[in-house]
Symmetry: C2
Subunit: 141 residues, 2 copies
DNA sequence: GTCAATACTTGGAATAATTCTAATTTGCGC
DNA sequence: GCGCAAATTAGAATTATTCCAAGTATTGAC
């Protein structure tokens, strides 16, 4: 990553954190960069392992705290795909997730332009979580 | 519930279990009836508490086993809505779930006739899990 | 720039949800 | 009815997440 890009990333991260009442910390910057680096929907545990590589003293509690802050700032999405650990995804474009029940990989899938579901009167939707389960091309029998 | 209805329920449950390689047990019958009785998307813990009322010796491990069997027989759906416990729902019609982030209640929402999302070549969808987060009519500010 | 208030980080303990284990019991095909 | 595999049980173990208390760092006011 070029210096200019890094600077821009940090200033927009700082701004986003600040407007949501959070402080800018090296840990939050680092956790966010880890998520951007490899967009494979890691679990909190996996984020922790990757974050430790360049920041060996970071703790699991901090990783959870950082992920929480990033989710609340709407910089990261949290998805529940299988029984078990939550997964995190820095792609904030409208999209849904395809979960391969065989190899357990997760793929981003674009939504059609009209994903709107008719809700009964009085319900106010804030966010849609669409998970599609099935077989990916590699695992088709 | 009338006797005739109960008989029918049991024979169809038996059949469904059998064709999926499961045995018919009083515990599985009871757990299924508990889910049908109050369709409020209980957690496994809640199912356990309700099941104990008329079957005091049932254990938590059995409740998990029964729910697993029912899910594998496609008699029950398992949904992950929030961080935390999974929830169970015996409504097998195509539908999605509305989760109120304020009061934490879950509502079934009918899907439009065209819920199909264009998947990239080679992906085979087996099931869609659509969770909508927002505010229910009671909690609208 | 200094200071104070308070949010954040840390390691470890605690909790919650689920799965595993080993012994016993039960359903079901023969 | 018999025998075997599957299911049940209580409790231990594991996994994922949250809580806690002490020290540290960030931010806004001066």
């Amino acid at each position: 990553m070029k210096m200019a890009e890094k600077k821009h990333l940090n200033s927009s991260l700082l701004e986003r954190l600040a407007t949501n009442g959070f402080r800018f910390t090296p840990q939050r910057e680092h956790v966010y960069s880890v998520l951007l680096e490899k967009r494979d929907h890691p679990t909190a545990e996996e984020v922790f392992i990757r974050a430790k590589r360049r920041m060996p003293d970071i703790s699991m509690a901090t990783v959870y705290n950082c992920l929480d802050a990033l989710v609340k700032c709407r910089l990261v999405r949290q998805v529940a795909l299988e029984r078990g650990a939550a997964r995190f995804c820095p792609n904030m474009q409208e999209h849904s997730h395809f979960y391969c029940d065989s190899c357990e990989q997760v793929f981003d899938v674009n939504l059609p332009p009209e994903p709107v579901i008719g809700l009964p009167r009085g319900f106010k939707a804030e966010r849609y979580d669409i998970a599609i389960h099935g077989r990916c091309p590699e695992c088709k029998t």
